[in-house]
């Protein structure tokens, strides 16, 4: 399984700002290796973020997202101590879930 994500969730006014840094190769499937063979695509396809069991963001990604993807977003509500859970799934069916406590 891939390395853990780094997630920060902070209360900003009446919203919660979430920043996520994932660890993933995000291979496009366009590049070739030294022997001229195409390196197969390997990238995160789906990302979901939930807070108290409610989905606060759902994303579909293509291979054009940078290596070690970063994303940030904000949602209304969220209190200190609540948990934000992020899950990603890549095109090989690998998945990873991490959570962070809102600070």
């Amino acid at each position: 399984m891939a390395d853990p994500m780094r997630i920060r969730a902070n209360v900003v006014g009446d919203s919660t700002e979430v920043k996520v840094l994932m660890s993933h190769e995000m291979e496009t499937g366009q590049r070739k290796d030294a022997s001229g063979k195409v390196i197969p695509a390997w990238f995160i396809q789906n990302v979901t973020a939930t807070w108290n069991g409610k989905t606060v963001l759902a994303a579909q990604w293509g291979p054009a997202i940078s290596k070690n993807p970063f994303m940030s977003f904000k949602f209304k509500g969220g209190a200190k101590g609540d948990k934000v859970v992020i899950t990603w799934t890549d095109n090989r069916g690998d998945k990873r879930t991490d959570e962070a406590t809102i600070a």
Partner: protein, 156 residues
Amino acid sequence: MDGKRREVLRAGGGVTLLTLLAAAGWLPGDALAADWNKAAFETQSLDATVKALGGAAPTQSKDIAFVQTPDIAENGAVVPVGVTSAIPKTESIAILVEKNPNMLAAVFDIPPGTDPAVTTRIKMGQSSNVYALVKADGKYYVATKEIRVTLGGCGG
């Protein structure tokens, strides 16, 4: 020997936990993986992408803004792009790069309660127009920004 047995036990335990979680509805599971819109990610024009996403021709909008997005990016492999939408009832935000092999980079679904603003980092093969495509109240809106990519040693 002993260590191996432990590994097996741990692996087994992990599977059970995952299964339980999936059963309890905590993990989105395979249903989510199937949500990946393959057709949309294989398109090569804005109109085709909108069509694959299930919409009609998008309207130009001044209510969509790029934030934290450079005019000139030194490294095409990591271009920060932020999109905010001031259109009421924004349901999703998509980011498209005109001259990438496949235009669509990402689609973010914005449920009610989440601010219509996302930031991420994308790859760009070359200088190109970047589109922010917003779906609001069933309609599609678009805004364009040109980002120049300077590759090699001449940038800066």
